[in-house]
């Protein structure tokens, strides 16, 4: 099983920040992703409706380490997210996958760092240590055998016209040229038959 690009980046940053041990291998199953929480403890997440300056509604996700800090972090969203001008009462708490929650945490930048929030964690990391996770230069890996733009356009057309079922993000991002070819060919064969 492959991770999404966002999960891979969160894993990399989690290691740089010390949330995930250096020797921890990239998780390969859903269970391995779930078990990552044993390294950095459970996180608390909330999906929050925000408005831009123009009044357009959009949703942001906030994940932090302590329940008590969640309200404050949500209130501070307009400081943390350039796009957010206003926070609406449209909010919902949830528990997500540990890597997605870690991705949400890093996505809000240094501003989300809070000593009391971090004190809720099991191991005691310092703010400068955790800052490394935000500052680390991340270069997404480029797969040589990834599906080409032309193949993705062909697949998109097949999905939009209903010839192919939807593909989830994990599969789409990790799609190889060979897999894309097989999918496209399977539809052409079906149509010809």
């Amino acid at each position: 099983m492959n991770l999404t690009f966002r999960q891979k980046e969160a894993f990399f940053r989690g290691k740089a920040a010390g949330f995930i041990p250096e020797n921890c291998p990239l998780p390969e199953t859903e269970e391995e992703i779930d078990s990552l929480f044993q390294h950095f403890g459970p996180m608390f997440s909330r999906i929050v409706g925000c408005r831009t300056k123009q009044g357009k509604l959009f949703f942001a996700t906030v994940s932090v380490f302590s329940e008590s800090y969640l309200d404050e972090a949500v209130r501070r969203l307009p400081e943390l997210l350039n796009k957010a001008n206003e926070v609406t009462p449209l909010q919902k708490d949830f528990f997500g996958s540990p890597l997605d929650e870690l991705a949400n945490y890093f996505a809000l930048g240094h501003g989300i760092l809070n000593e009391e929030d971090l004190a809720a964690r099991k191991s005691k990391l310092t703010l400068p240590e955790i800052r490394r996770g935000f500052d680390a230069e991340y270069e997404p890996e480029e797969k040589a055998d990834a599906a080409s733009m032309e193949q993705r356009i062909a697949l998109s057309n097949l999905i939009i016209n209903g010839s192919l079922p939807m593909i989830d993000r994990r599969e789409w991002e990790n799609l190889t040229g060979k897999e894309a070819d097989e999918l496209i060919r399977s539809i052409i064969t079906k149509q010809e038959g």
Partner: protein
């Protein structure tokens, strides 16, 4: 992006935009369905979606609508009205408009108290939307009398 802006883009720029768009799986930003929109209108009218505006509903993606519906679903349990009343109202609001309502709307359009609607839209209109249209049409009629 409007087609006229798109057609004027240099090839490099349009290619990089296509590449960026293709990072998302197809149908990621698909619009909310009519069923989702009708349910949201009902929940908003019942006070279950504090913070949402009527004008937001037309621009929502299907995933955003799902988030909003999960919020209103949670709020059904804590709302002042009873859970059963809310569900009943949702069913009533989201059922198709009656022939009588459609006739009234067509009459209001004919008399130019409402903007014209296509036949397709009229056939899909929900009871709640029909009630609102008739109310708006009648208000427009009164203001011109």
């Amino acid at each position: 992006m409007p087609p006229e802006v798109w057609s004027r883009l240099p090839e490099e720029e349009s290619r990089s935009l296509v590449e960026a768009a293709l990072r998302n799986p197809p149908r990621t930003f698909i619009s909310a369905t009519l069923e989702q929109k009708n349910l949201l209108r009902s929940d908003l009218a019942q006070g279950l979606l504090d913070g949402l505006r009527y004008e937001d509903i037309g621009e929502l993606t299907s995933d955003e609508a799902k988030i909003l519906l999960s919020i209103s679903e949670e709020r059904r349990w804590t709302a002042e009205r009873k859970f059963r009343q809310i569900i009943r109202k949702e069913d009533d609001d989201t059922r198709l408009a009656t022939p009588e309502q459609l006739k009234q709307i067509r009459q209001l359009i004919r008399e130019r108290h409402l903007r014209p609607l296509s036949g397709d839209t009229l056939l899909k209109i929900s009871n709640l939307s029909a009630k609102r249209l008739i109310w708006r049409g009648e208000m427009n009629r009164r203001s011109t009398e």
